[in-house]
């Protein structure tokens, strides 16, 4: 299964609610996560996604 732009976009979309609710989940374990931590985690996720896209994304196999 190829890592297409569309799949990357959908993954980004689904990461947003998870990131927002991360603080609630942390709250259940009595961890107070500051907003900036969530922003950093989301940023790292996006960076990872970009790297993966670069390695396995549509362009890498150049089917055209």
């Amino acid at each position: 299964m190829k890592f297409t732009k569309a799949r990357a976009l959908v993954l980004i979309a689904f990461s947003v609610p998870l990131a927002i609710e991360l603080r609630t989940v942390a709250g259940f374990f009595n961890v107070e996560l500051p907003l900036i931590a969530v922003a950093v985690i989301e940023f790292l996720f996006l960076a990872l996604l970009f790297v993966l896209y670069g390695l396995y994304g549509e362009g890498s196999e150049s089917p055209a």
Binding site: K5, A6, I12, A13, V16, P17, I20, G27, L35
Partner: protein
């Protein structure tokens, strides 16, 4: 090239129906653009990010936002979808072109009158306003034009329903033994529900509000008109939702590369909505004085059983998508999700809309819980909830559906699929920000429908994060949603201006995996289901309405209160009968 486009494109096969669909979509999209703009202004205003209007004008914008999006956009669009679905699934044009244009014209005229009355509020010295919000609770009063426009609009929808019933009758004359085609079945059951439920608002508007706004009667009974509104106000929720369900059941499986999992269950689901949509309106009035707790409990049981068709839908629709994914080579317990056609904005939009509906379903369960309603009643939680349901499950499905439907009625190809994909994802992300923050703000006690919830005497507290963060999230989400609408309208406009295409979309709808053949014929007995629906409504509403009229100073309010309490015994009988009905329905399903 053995076949020409005429063999397959809807616009060539049914040019007149396509014209009607185009007209209704045009009105819907104009309303969407204006309504979304008002929404942006409100999101920025109430969060104190940017204030370009006076706070008193906020309510004019809010009325416009509610009426243009929740009534005009949704209902015009669904009329287009229904007109398309009936012609397509019965494979015959409407009986009378003139009649079709008559209802489009009547609905449009009503819309224009109501919109003029609302926007008149922005023009000082005009003496015309309708800042009564989408619920128009008396004794707040609007200009008579507002109510008259509304009445015309509703009569227009009645005629539209008649149009589809006439098509069905003509089809039935030539196909006496056949099962009703699924899409037509969905349209007809939805319209029966609409006829039953709009009686409430029609009585309220025609007998009370119009005479009162014209000065013919002195006063109205506020609890009575409010109850009549919610008699109609909850079924309208399902009137918005049913076209989305129609697309999820009949179009989404195809977009996913699969087939509908079960046709009979789809029919059962629509019948359950027909039966249970109306006798639940009192769940919007859990905190109203003047209505006995027993009636509220009945409304709650009915409401909770109304979860059943939606939970069944979740299974059937996801299973249909899974079928597509597996046909496209998907494997595993959850990995198959990756094999879905995420590039297709029509598919992705509908799938994301469904995912958000699952979340909105949860906040709806909280709303429906009779006593937990104290927690969130009239707080920002409630708009947070319905922006997930009507604002995403319905609106995003309609926008995504447009990417597949509009090309069929224009004969042109979608201008840009990538922009479409970006648009639906922006909607999803924007709504996650806005709706999540609204739910949280509601739990902190921030009220809905308020221009500037920044009070002098107290502060709102939230356990996680801060109120400031929530405000920023609402403003950010609202901005993304508005930009998403702009992209959508731009994409659709350029689509309609494009060149004719040989194959605007792939319009074929595959047969269901499990067809209607094996299902009981009684499912198609519309007259019987209508009768049961009416009976349930009578059971759920007769006593509360009688109580309101007797206790609350008569039909028109202002009279002397006549104490009259309903006996507990009677209460008990109603609860028992209604629960028995519900259980029975559960068993049938």
């Amino acid at each position: 090239m053995a076949t020409t486009r005429s063999d397959r494109a809807f616009v060539d096969k049914f040019p007149h129906e396509a014209a009607i669909v185009k007209a209704t979509f045009l009105v819907a999209f104009v309303a969407l653009g204006i309504g979304a703009f008002f929404g942006l202004i409100q999101a920025l205003h109430r969060t104190n990010v940017l204030r370009v209007i006076e706070s008193a004008d906020y309510y004019t914008m809010l009325t416009g936002h509610g009426v243009l999006l929740a009534i005009v956009f949704t209902i015009f669009f669904l009329c287009g979808v229904f007109h398309w679905a009936v012609a397509r699934s019965l494979n015959r044009p409407a009986e009378s072109r003139l009649f079709s244009w008559a209802w489009v014209g009547l609905m449009t005229t009503g819309t224009v009158l109501t919109t003029v009355a609302i926007l008149g509020g922005l023009v000082p010295n005009l003496g015309m306003s309708a800042d009564v919000l989408f619920t128009f609770y008396a004794p707040l009063q609007a200009h008579p034009l507002f109510y008259i426009g509304l009445a015309m609009f509703i009569v227009g929808t009645w005629l539209a329903g008649a149009d589809w019933f006439l098509s069905y009758r003509a089809w039935r004359a030539n196909n006496s033994g056949e099962r009703i085609p699924l899409q037509t079945f969905m349209v007809l059951t939805t319209m029966i529900m609409w006829y039953v439920s709009t009686i409430g608002v029609a009585v309220s508007v025609v007998f009370f509000l119009i005479p009162w706004s014209l000065g013919l009667i002195e006063s109205v009974n506020p609890l009575l008109t409010r109850t009549l509104f919610w008699y109609f106000g909850h079924p309208i929720v399902y009137f918005w939702l049913m076209p989305a369900y129609l697309m999820w059941y009949t179009v989404l499986p195809k977009l996913a590369g699969g087939r509908l999992f079960s046709d009979p269950l789809a029919r059962v689901v629509f019948l359950l909505f027909l039966l249970l949509s109306t006798p639940v309106g009192i769940h919007h009035q859990y905190l109203d004085p003047g209505i006995a707790e027993g009636f509220k409990f009945i409304a709650m049981t009915n409401t909770m059983f109304l979860l059943l068709p939606s939970l069944l839908t979740a299974f059937t629709v996801v299973a249909s998508m899974e079928h597509g994914a597996r046909q496209r080579g998907g494997k595993g317990y959850v990995r198959w999700l990756g094999a879905l056609p995420w590039r297709d904005p029509a598919f992705t939009g509908m799938a994301l809309a469904g995912a958000m509906f699952a979340a909105g379903g949860f906040s709806g369960m909280i709303n429906a819980g009779m006593n937990i309603n104290y927690l969130i009643h009239n707080t920002l939680w409630v708009p947070g909830h319905f922006h997930l349901t009507v604002g995403t499950a319905v609106a995003l499905t309609m926008m995504a559906g447009s990417y597949w439907l509009v090309p069929q009625v224009t004969g042109t190809k979608l201008y840009s699929r990538p922009i479409g994909l970006l648009q639906v994802i922006m909607w999803f992300v924007g709504m996650v920000f806005m709706s999540n923050a609204m739910h949280r703000a509601g739990l902190a006690g921030i009220p809905r429908r308020t221009a500037e919830p920044q009070y002098q005497n107290f502060e709102f507290l939230t356990p996680i994060g801060s109120i400031f963060e929530l405000r920023v999230q609402i403003a950010l989400g609202g901005t993304l949603l508005f930009l998403s609408v702009v992209l959508f309208l731009f994409n659709i406009l350029l689509t309609s201006l494009g060149d004719e295409s040989d194959r605007p979309v792939d319009a074929a709808l595959p047969e269901p995996l499990s067809g209607p053949e094996g299902s009981p014929r009684i499912l198609d007995n519309l007259a019987m289901w209508t009768g049961i629906a009416a009976l349930l409504v009578i059971l759920a509403y007769t006593l509360p309405l009688a109580g309101i009229i007797q206790n609350g100073g008569g039909l028109f309010g202002g009279g002397l209160p006549v104490p009259a309490t309903l006996s507990a015994g009677l209460d008990f009988v109603v609860v028992t009968v209604s629960s028995a009905f519900n259980t029975l329905l559960g068993v049938i399903a």
